[in-house]
Amino acid sequence: MNLTLKVWRQSTDSDGRFETYTAENVSAEASFLEMLDVVNDKLEGQGEEPIVFDHDCREGICGSCGFLVDGVAHGPETGTTICQTHMRKFNDGDSLTIEPWRASAFPVIKDLMVDRTAFDRIIESGGYVSVRTGAAPDAHTMPVNKHDADDAFNAATCIGCGACVAACPNAAAMLFTSAKVSHLGMLPQGQVERYERVSNMVDTMEEAGFGACSNHGECEAVCPKGVSLNYIARMNRDLAVAKLKGV
């Protein structure tokens, strides 16, 4: 099939603009990124700069990839990263607009690539259990109720892609942060630092310039891992307790 692509091109030292490209003879079996590879191969062969986008595993797990397709984070297929979206989802002759995550806490580096290190800073401020290597007791010392373990796992499936921020009208990072807070906060291993953790991580999140949550729910709709909005409510409860405790 043939497609027309309107792609955001921006280098660090310039304002961005849309450029139009055609993708020709695209196989319906190809992934969306493979379609872009074909466009880039042609550009490179002509000595032109390829379209820059982040990607690595192409299996939907590393969280590197992500941009907006016709305004939707990770494109039209729900519960799926853009690297796992295949061209059979589109039609011959389609015209698609492709642009980077838009959020002030995620500045554009080039074209479709943005800087998501604010997420790492949130983790560095408390998203861990402070256990030194070698200091761990036998794994069976502390059984964990299966329901809690499964719930913690579901929160931990977040791949840190940033789609939730991109989809949020306020560019809030609540879904990501709450997933991280909840993963550890629901396990016995994470109890000692539970309230300090939430308060430090939320502080860092706010300092990084993410917006406030006003319950739009757009984040959950685009999250490729189906991370639930319930974690935001859970985090807010923990935060309230943390405030009461004065941590």
Binding site: S11, T12, S27, A28, E29, A30, S31, E34, D37, N40, D41, L43, E44, G45, E48, E49, P50, D54, H55, D56, C57, R58, E59, I61, C62, T80, Q84, H86, R88, I109, T117, D120, I123, E124, S125, G127, Y128, V129, V131, R132, T133, G134, A136, D138, A139, H140, M142, P143, V144, N145, K146, A149, A152, F153, A156, T157, L184, L187, Q189, G190
Partner: protein, 642 residues
């Protein structure tokens, strides 16, 4: 030259304890004086960096992604082994050790493997304490599964994403140390060269992938944790950025590359769909527990819909050829047989470059026997992934699978202390050659990466640092300046070619030669051809590659070009190793050496050694150094799956 792995002698059970006692220990106040560079922050690098920083060392880390959390360790699905014996099925450290040595087809160092089995249990304890959400039973205790044909259930897992959960644990430990300013981390920074001073590894040259800046970083020791080289085959289950550059540049500076020909080809991956395919996706091997592998018996049927092919016209080749193990034969045996039936023209699915390279993995019988719900319960996420990628419903039509390059057992040579032959250069995780011999068992790479990073290297590196006490150096010492100039020179040469072909064109060509001649099944004659074809592609690359953009800014084409340039040299080393190893062992199958039943036939008399290759110049056959292997605890035997 004969190499010495310096493994301790004496009782294998006590060797590691005694060794730890005998090596030098750095006292806490002195640790603060030492700087360590860790390149790569996957499972191996992140766990090592976090542990060393906790101990007091000054650590700097580097990765090419935008965050340590994205290293390709994240993609591991199946699980991680440990000898906990929580299932009370007779597992033990000795059994895990025994299985791993045997699984590696007797081409690994016994004492390293024993240590790996010994520390395996601590890894699970550490991960659980970090909050890694492993699967649990209703009792609240950890669940296990049996994996990769093991006779005991010793694999710990977190649904289909054990890799991501373990990596998040190690990444969080690292993030904590970054937050505490004990580690300085550099994202989007690629190592391009190793700096030697007085014969010791004292620093690295990096390229900042955003600004293009070339810089040197100095330290008292350098650790490479840069993962595997599977992408030398172009298509593999590795991430797009996985590369051999760090290890290969170290090799060019004098480090030996060991056993590069030991490559694991995984039998159950989603087949190639077209020429512009960029990578292959693994389907967990657990699928072979219930799926039956077949192709049509007659060439006329290969285009027919699978369900229209009569039962009598289906060739269940694994079940017929290996009645005892059937569909559960080891990875290499399953992979090889799939290749053979496709070579015979019995392959199914898409025609790519005039060939059909896929076989069926059929669940019809299992669904009929256990019901669709039971199958969904077991494999739902895998079936979902398959249907997303292929657009087909595997509950209704059989899956199509084909082998793909998956893991590389070879890597830089290291001794028992995980130090290479270059003093100060340590290598951990998939980047070293250590514990898997000629073939890796399922769920043991995560174990090895974390064993190296949490429980081995943080001790053994102290031995080097305290015996040598390297003298302080600055970033602008003559050796660093020279290495920086070398890197800039290489980049300028690439930029100046201004040819007419994109980088991927050459990578694809290389991949084709590697799969055809240095892949699942190899022959002396084929390897000779590869040794002629690889240099020809390399020559054409240096004449005709197009690298647009600028050297001093973000430039993905330049990143790829640098990696492919190294693959084009490394491929030749790999092919030389495969040619030289005139036997079959594990993942290395030489057609000339098979039993009457077509199984891999080792030659222990002549080849029971580690082949460690030393650089002699581009296009020149490297020099072979041998580390002899002896087996005192596991008796040498030939595998049989009939």
């Amino acid at each position: 030259m004969i190499l010495d792995g310096k493994a301790p002698t004496g009782d294998i059970e006590e060797a590691w304890d005694k060794h730890r006692f005998s090596i030098k220990v750095v006292n806490p106040s002195n640790k603060r004086k030492f700087k360590v560079i860790v390149v790569g922050t996957g499972l191996a690098g992140a766990s090592a960096a976090a542990s060393m920083a906790e101990m007091g060392y000054q650590v700097q880390t580097f990765c090419y992604q935008d965050s340590p959390r994205r290293a390709h360790s994240i993609a591991a699905q199946g699980g991680i082994n440990a000898a906990k014996n929580y299932q009370n099925d007779g597992d033990s450290i000795f059994r895990l050790f025994y299985d791993t040595v045997k699984g590696g087809d007797f081409r690994s160092r016994e004492r390293n493997v024993y240590r790996l089995a010994q520390v395996s249990n601590s890894i699970i304890d550490q991960a659980v304490a970090q909050g890694v959400p492993f699967a649990r039973e209703y009792s609240g205790l950890l669940g296990n599964r049996s994996f990769g044909g093991a006779q005991v259930s010793r694999t710990f897992y977190a649904a289909g994403q054990t890799g991501q959960q373990l990596l998040l644990g190690a990444y969080q430990a690292l993030a904590r140390q970054i937050g505490l300013k004990n580690v300085v981390h550099h994202n989007r920074t690629e190592m391009q060269d190793l700096i030697l001073v007085d014969g010791q590894a004292r620093g690295i040259v990096t390229r900042n992938l955003i600004t293009g800046q070339i810089e040197s970083h100095m330290a008292d020791a350098v650790v490479l944790a840069t993962g595997g080289y599977g992408n030398v085959y172009y298509l593999s289950t590795n991430a797009m950025g996985c590369n051999v550059t760090a290890g290969f540049q170290a090799y060019k500076r004098g480090a030996y590359f060991a056993n590069p020909c030991y490559v694991q080809i995984h039998p159950t991956c989603i087949p190639v769909h077209g020429e512009f395919q960029s990578k292959l996706t693994l389907m967990s091997e657990s699928l072979r527990n219930d799926g039956r592998v077949w192709v049509p018996r007659n060439k006329e049927d290969v285009e027919k819909p699978a369900r229209d092919i009569a039962e009598a016209d289906r060739y269940y080749y694994l079940e017929e050829r290996y009645p005892a193990f059937g569909n559960l034969v080891p990875r290499d045996v399953a992979a090889r047989n799939s290749k053979y039936v496709c070579d015979e023209g019995l392959g199914v699915g898409h025609k790519v470059n005039g060939e059909r390279r896929a076989v069926y993995l059929d669940f019809a019988e299992a669904i009929k026997r256990d019901g669709e719900d039971a199958i969904r319960e077991k494999y739902g996420n895998l079936f979902h992934m398959y249907s997303k990628i292929t657009g087909e419903n595997p509950y209704k039509v059989p899956m199509r699978i084909y082998p793909a390059v998956h893991y590389t057992m070879g890597g830089l040579w290291v001794d028992y202390n995980l130090m290479s032959n270059v003093p100060g250069l340590h290598v951990i995780g998939e980047a070293n050659f250590s514990d898997h011999g000629a073939n890796r068992l399922g769920a043991s790479a995560l174990m090895q990466g974390l064993a190296d990073g949490y429980f081995v290297l943080p001790y053994t590196i102290g031995n080097f640092l305290w015996s040598e006490r390297p003298k302080p150096l600055t970033n602008d010492c003559a050796e660093a300046q020279q290495a920086v100039a070398d890197v800039k020179g290489r980049i300028n040469t690439l930029m100046d070619i201004k040819g007419g072909k994109p980088v991927d064109y050459f990578h694809r060509q290389l991949g084709k030669v590697m799969y055809d001649k240095v892949g699942i099944s190899r022959s002396g004659a084929g390897l000779k051809e590869a040794l002629e074809q690889i240099p020809a592609i390399r020559e054409e690359f240096w004449k005709n590659v197009s690298v647009p953009g600028k050297a001093n800014s973000l430039n993905p084409a330049l990143e790829k070009a640098g990696r492919v340039a190294d693959f084009l040299e490394f491929a030749e080393v790999l092919a030389h190793d495969a040619h030289d190893r005139d036997e079959s062992a594990g993942g290395h199958f030489r057609e000339e050496h098979q039993t009457e039943e077509g199984e891999a036939k080792r030659n222990d008399e002549d080849f029971s050694y580690v082949a460690a290759w030393g650089y002699q110049g581009v296009g020149v056959k490297p020099e072979l150094h041998k580390e002899p292997l002896s087996f005192d605890y596991v008796k040498l035997s030939q595998r049989s799956y009939k």
